[in-house]
Symmetry: C4
Subunit: 189 residues, 4 copies
Amino acid sequence: MEAFSDGVIAIIITIMVLELKVPAGVHGADLASVLKLYPVFLSYILSFIYIGIYWNNHHHTFQAVGSVNGTILWANMHLLFWLSLIPFVTGWMGENDFARWPVTCYGIVLIMNAIAYTLLIIALIRHHGRDSLLGEAIGKDWKGYISLAIYAIAIALSWFSSMVSFALYVVVAGIWFIPDKRIERKIGH
Amino acid sequence: MEAFSDGVIAIIITIMVLELKVPAGVHGADLASVLKLYPVFLSYILSFIYIGIYWNNHHHTFQAVGSVNGTILWANMHLLFWLSLIPFVTGWMGENDFARWPVTCYGIVLIMNAIAYTLLIIALIRHHGRDSLLGEAIGKDWKGYISLAIYAIAIALSWFSSMVSFALYVVVAGIWFIPDKRIERKIGH
Amino acid sequence: MEAFSDGVIAIIITIMVLELKVPAGVHGADLASVLKLYPVFLSYILSFIYIGIYWNNHHHTFQAVGSVNGTILWANMHLLFWLSLIPFVTGWMGENDFARWPVTCYGIVLIMNAIAYTLLIIALIRHHGRDSLLGEAIGKDWKGYISLAIYAIAIALSWFSSMVSFALYVVVAGIWFIPDKRIERKIGH
Amino acid sequence: MEAFSDGVIAIIITIMVLELKVPAGVHGADLASVLKLYPVFLSYILSFIYIGIYWNNHHHTFQAVGSVNGTILWANMHLLFWLSLIPFVTGWMGENDFARWPVTCYGIVLIMNAIAYTLLIIALIRHHGRDSLLGEAIGKDWKGYISLAIYAIAIALSWFSSMVSFALYVVVAGIWFIPDKRIERKIGH
C-alpha cells in the first residue's frame, strides 16, 4: 500500500508542472511573459512543499505501522483523493492572480487534506491501539489542531484579503516543514 | 508484474485530475465557473472510487498468487487497457453534463473492465487450480455477475435517462466498495 | 534500474490516453464525434500492445540478468528515449487519419525502438558472455531480424499506401505478442 | 526515499513528451510541420540526457548511502523541485526557436539543479562523515565546479548568442555522460 501511495504522490507532485503553461497565444520569448507567471510559480512552490510534507509524514507514519485493514485502506484513498485535487486548485489560483474564489477553494482543499490525514491517523491508532508505537509517537496532535484552526481562519479571511490567506497557508507549511520528530524519535529511521 | 500494474493504476488515478480543467476562455475567478464543473467533479469522484476498488481487489488477488504465465500477463494487460480508458470517458462524460452517448460509453468501459477482471481471475484460477487458495477464496463470483447485469441495464437505460444510469454505476461501486472479504479472510493480509 | 524502467514504461503506456482528447470545439455529446476518433483509437490500441510487448520482454530479459555496467545503463536509457516518443507519434498518426508522413514517422520510431532493444541485448550479452544464461536463451535473434525487415518494408510502402504499412505494424506486433519463450524456458519465472 | 525519487524522476522524464505537441491549428500531415519542430526535438533530447544523468548519479550516490536525516530529505526534495521545472523550460525553449530569454531560463534551471545536487551531496557527507565511503568516493568535486562555471558562462552568453549557450549546455552534458566512476569504483555495483 505504501508503494502505491508513494507512486500516486510522486505523480501528483510532478504533473503539477503541467499547469505551468505559458498561456496559449502569448508564447512570448521575452521575460515579461514569464514574469507574469509569478503567481503560478508562487502557487507551484507552495503546493510542492505541501505535497513534500505530506509524503514525508505519510512515509514516516507507515514506517511505524505493521498491518492495515479495510478502513485504513480507504482512509488512505480518501487522503490521496484530496491530495490529487491540489494540482487543480494550484493551477486555478495561479492563473487568476490569487483572486478570491480560487484562494478560498485552495484553502478548502488544504483543510480537507488535513482532515483526511487526521482520519487516517485515527484509523491507524484504532487498529493498532493507543499504546502502540504509533499511538505513543503521535500523542496529542496539537500541530494538527492548530493547522485546522489556521486553515479555517485563512478561508474566512480570503473574502477580505486573499494575500493574508496565502500568507497563512505559508505559515502552516512552515509549521509542518520539519519532519514529524515525534515519530522519528520513537522509531529512529 | 504487480509493481508495474500498481504503477499504471497509480498513474491512471492521478492523471484523471488533468481532465479537471477550468474550460479555456473562461478561467473565471468566480464561484459560478467552478460550480458549472459539478458534473466533472461527480464523474471524477466516481471514477476515483472505481479505480480505487480495482487497485484494492487487484492488490488483494495478487497477494494470493504465487506465479504467473503468459496468459495471465496479457489478461492483466487487457485489464490495464480498459482501466486506462477511464480518464478519457470520465472527462467526456463530465464535460457534456451527462449527455446520452458519453454516459453510454462510460458504462461500456466499466463493463469491459468488469469482463477483463473476470477473465484475469479465470486465467489465474486455471493456472493455480480451483482448489488453490485463490480458487477457494473466490468461490462463486456472484458480485461479479450482479455487477455485469447492472452495468448492462444501466447502458440500456442511458437512452431514457442518463441520470438513472449514473445512479446504477454508483450502486455497483457501492457493492464493491468493501475490499474482497472472501480473499482477505483466507489469506489474512 | 529495472524499477526505474518499469516506472517509465508504466507512465508512457498511461499518458498516451491523454492524446485521446475529443477535439476542442467539438466536445459533441453524439456518437459521431467519438466515431470520428476511430483512427485515434486504432493507433492507441496498437501502441498499447507494442509498449506491453516491450515491457514484457524487457522484464523477462532483466530477470535473466545479474549485474549491469555503464554501457547497459545508457543502452537502456536509449531504448526508453525511443519508447517515450511513441505517445507523440501515436497521437500524430491518429489525428491525421493515417496520413502518409505520420505513418512513416510512426514506423521510424518503431524501427528505432527495435534497434535500441537489439543494442541493449548486445550490450547485455557482451557484459555477461555468450555462454551466459541470457546468451544461450537469446541464441539467434531471428524474430528481431524479421521485425527490422518488416518495419523497413512498411516505412517504404507508407508512400504508396499507409494502410498497408499499418497492417505490417500489426503483423510485427503479432509476431512478438507471445512472451519470449526462449528466455522463459531457460529461467522459469 | 530512493523509490520516491526514482518515481518522480521517471515521471519528469516521461511527461516532457507531452510538450512535444504538433502546434494546434497546424496538425499538418506533411513533413514540414514536423521539421519545424526541430528545436523542440533538440531541446527534448538534451533534457532527456540531463535527466538521465541526474537519475544515474542520484542512483549511484544513494547506493553508497545507508541512512538519511531530515536535512538530506529536504535537500533531495529541493533537487526534485528544480528537476521538475526542466519539462517547463524545455517546452518553452523549444517553442521559441532558442530565443534569448527561454535559453537563459533553461540555463538558470540547469545551474539551480547543479547547486541543488551539490547541496544534497554536502548534506550527505555531513551526515556520514568525510571519511565515509561516499566522502572518499566524491573527493574533490571538480566536475561539479567546472559545470557550475560553464553554466554561468552560458547564461551570460545567452545575451549574445543563444546557440553558443545551447552548445555549452551540450558540453556539460557530455562531461557528465559517463556514470560517476569515482563512486562506481569504490562500491562496485
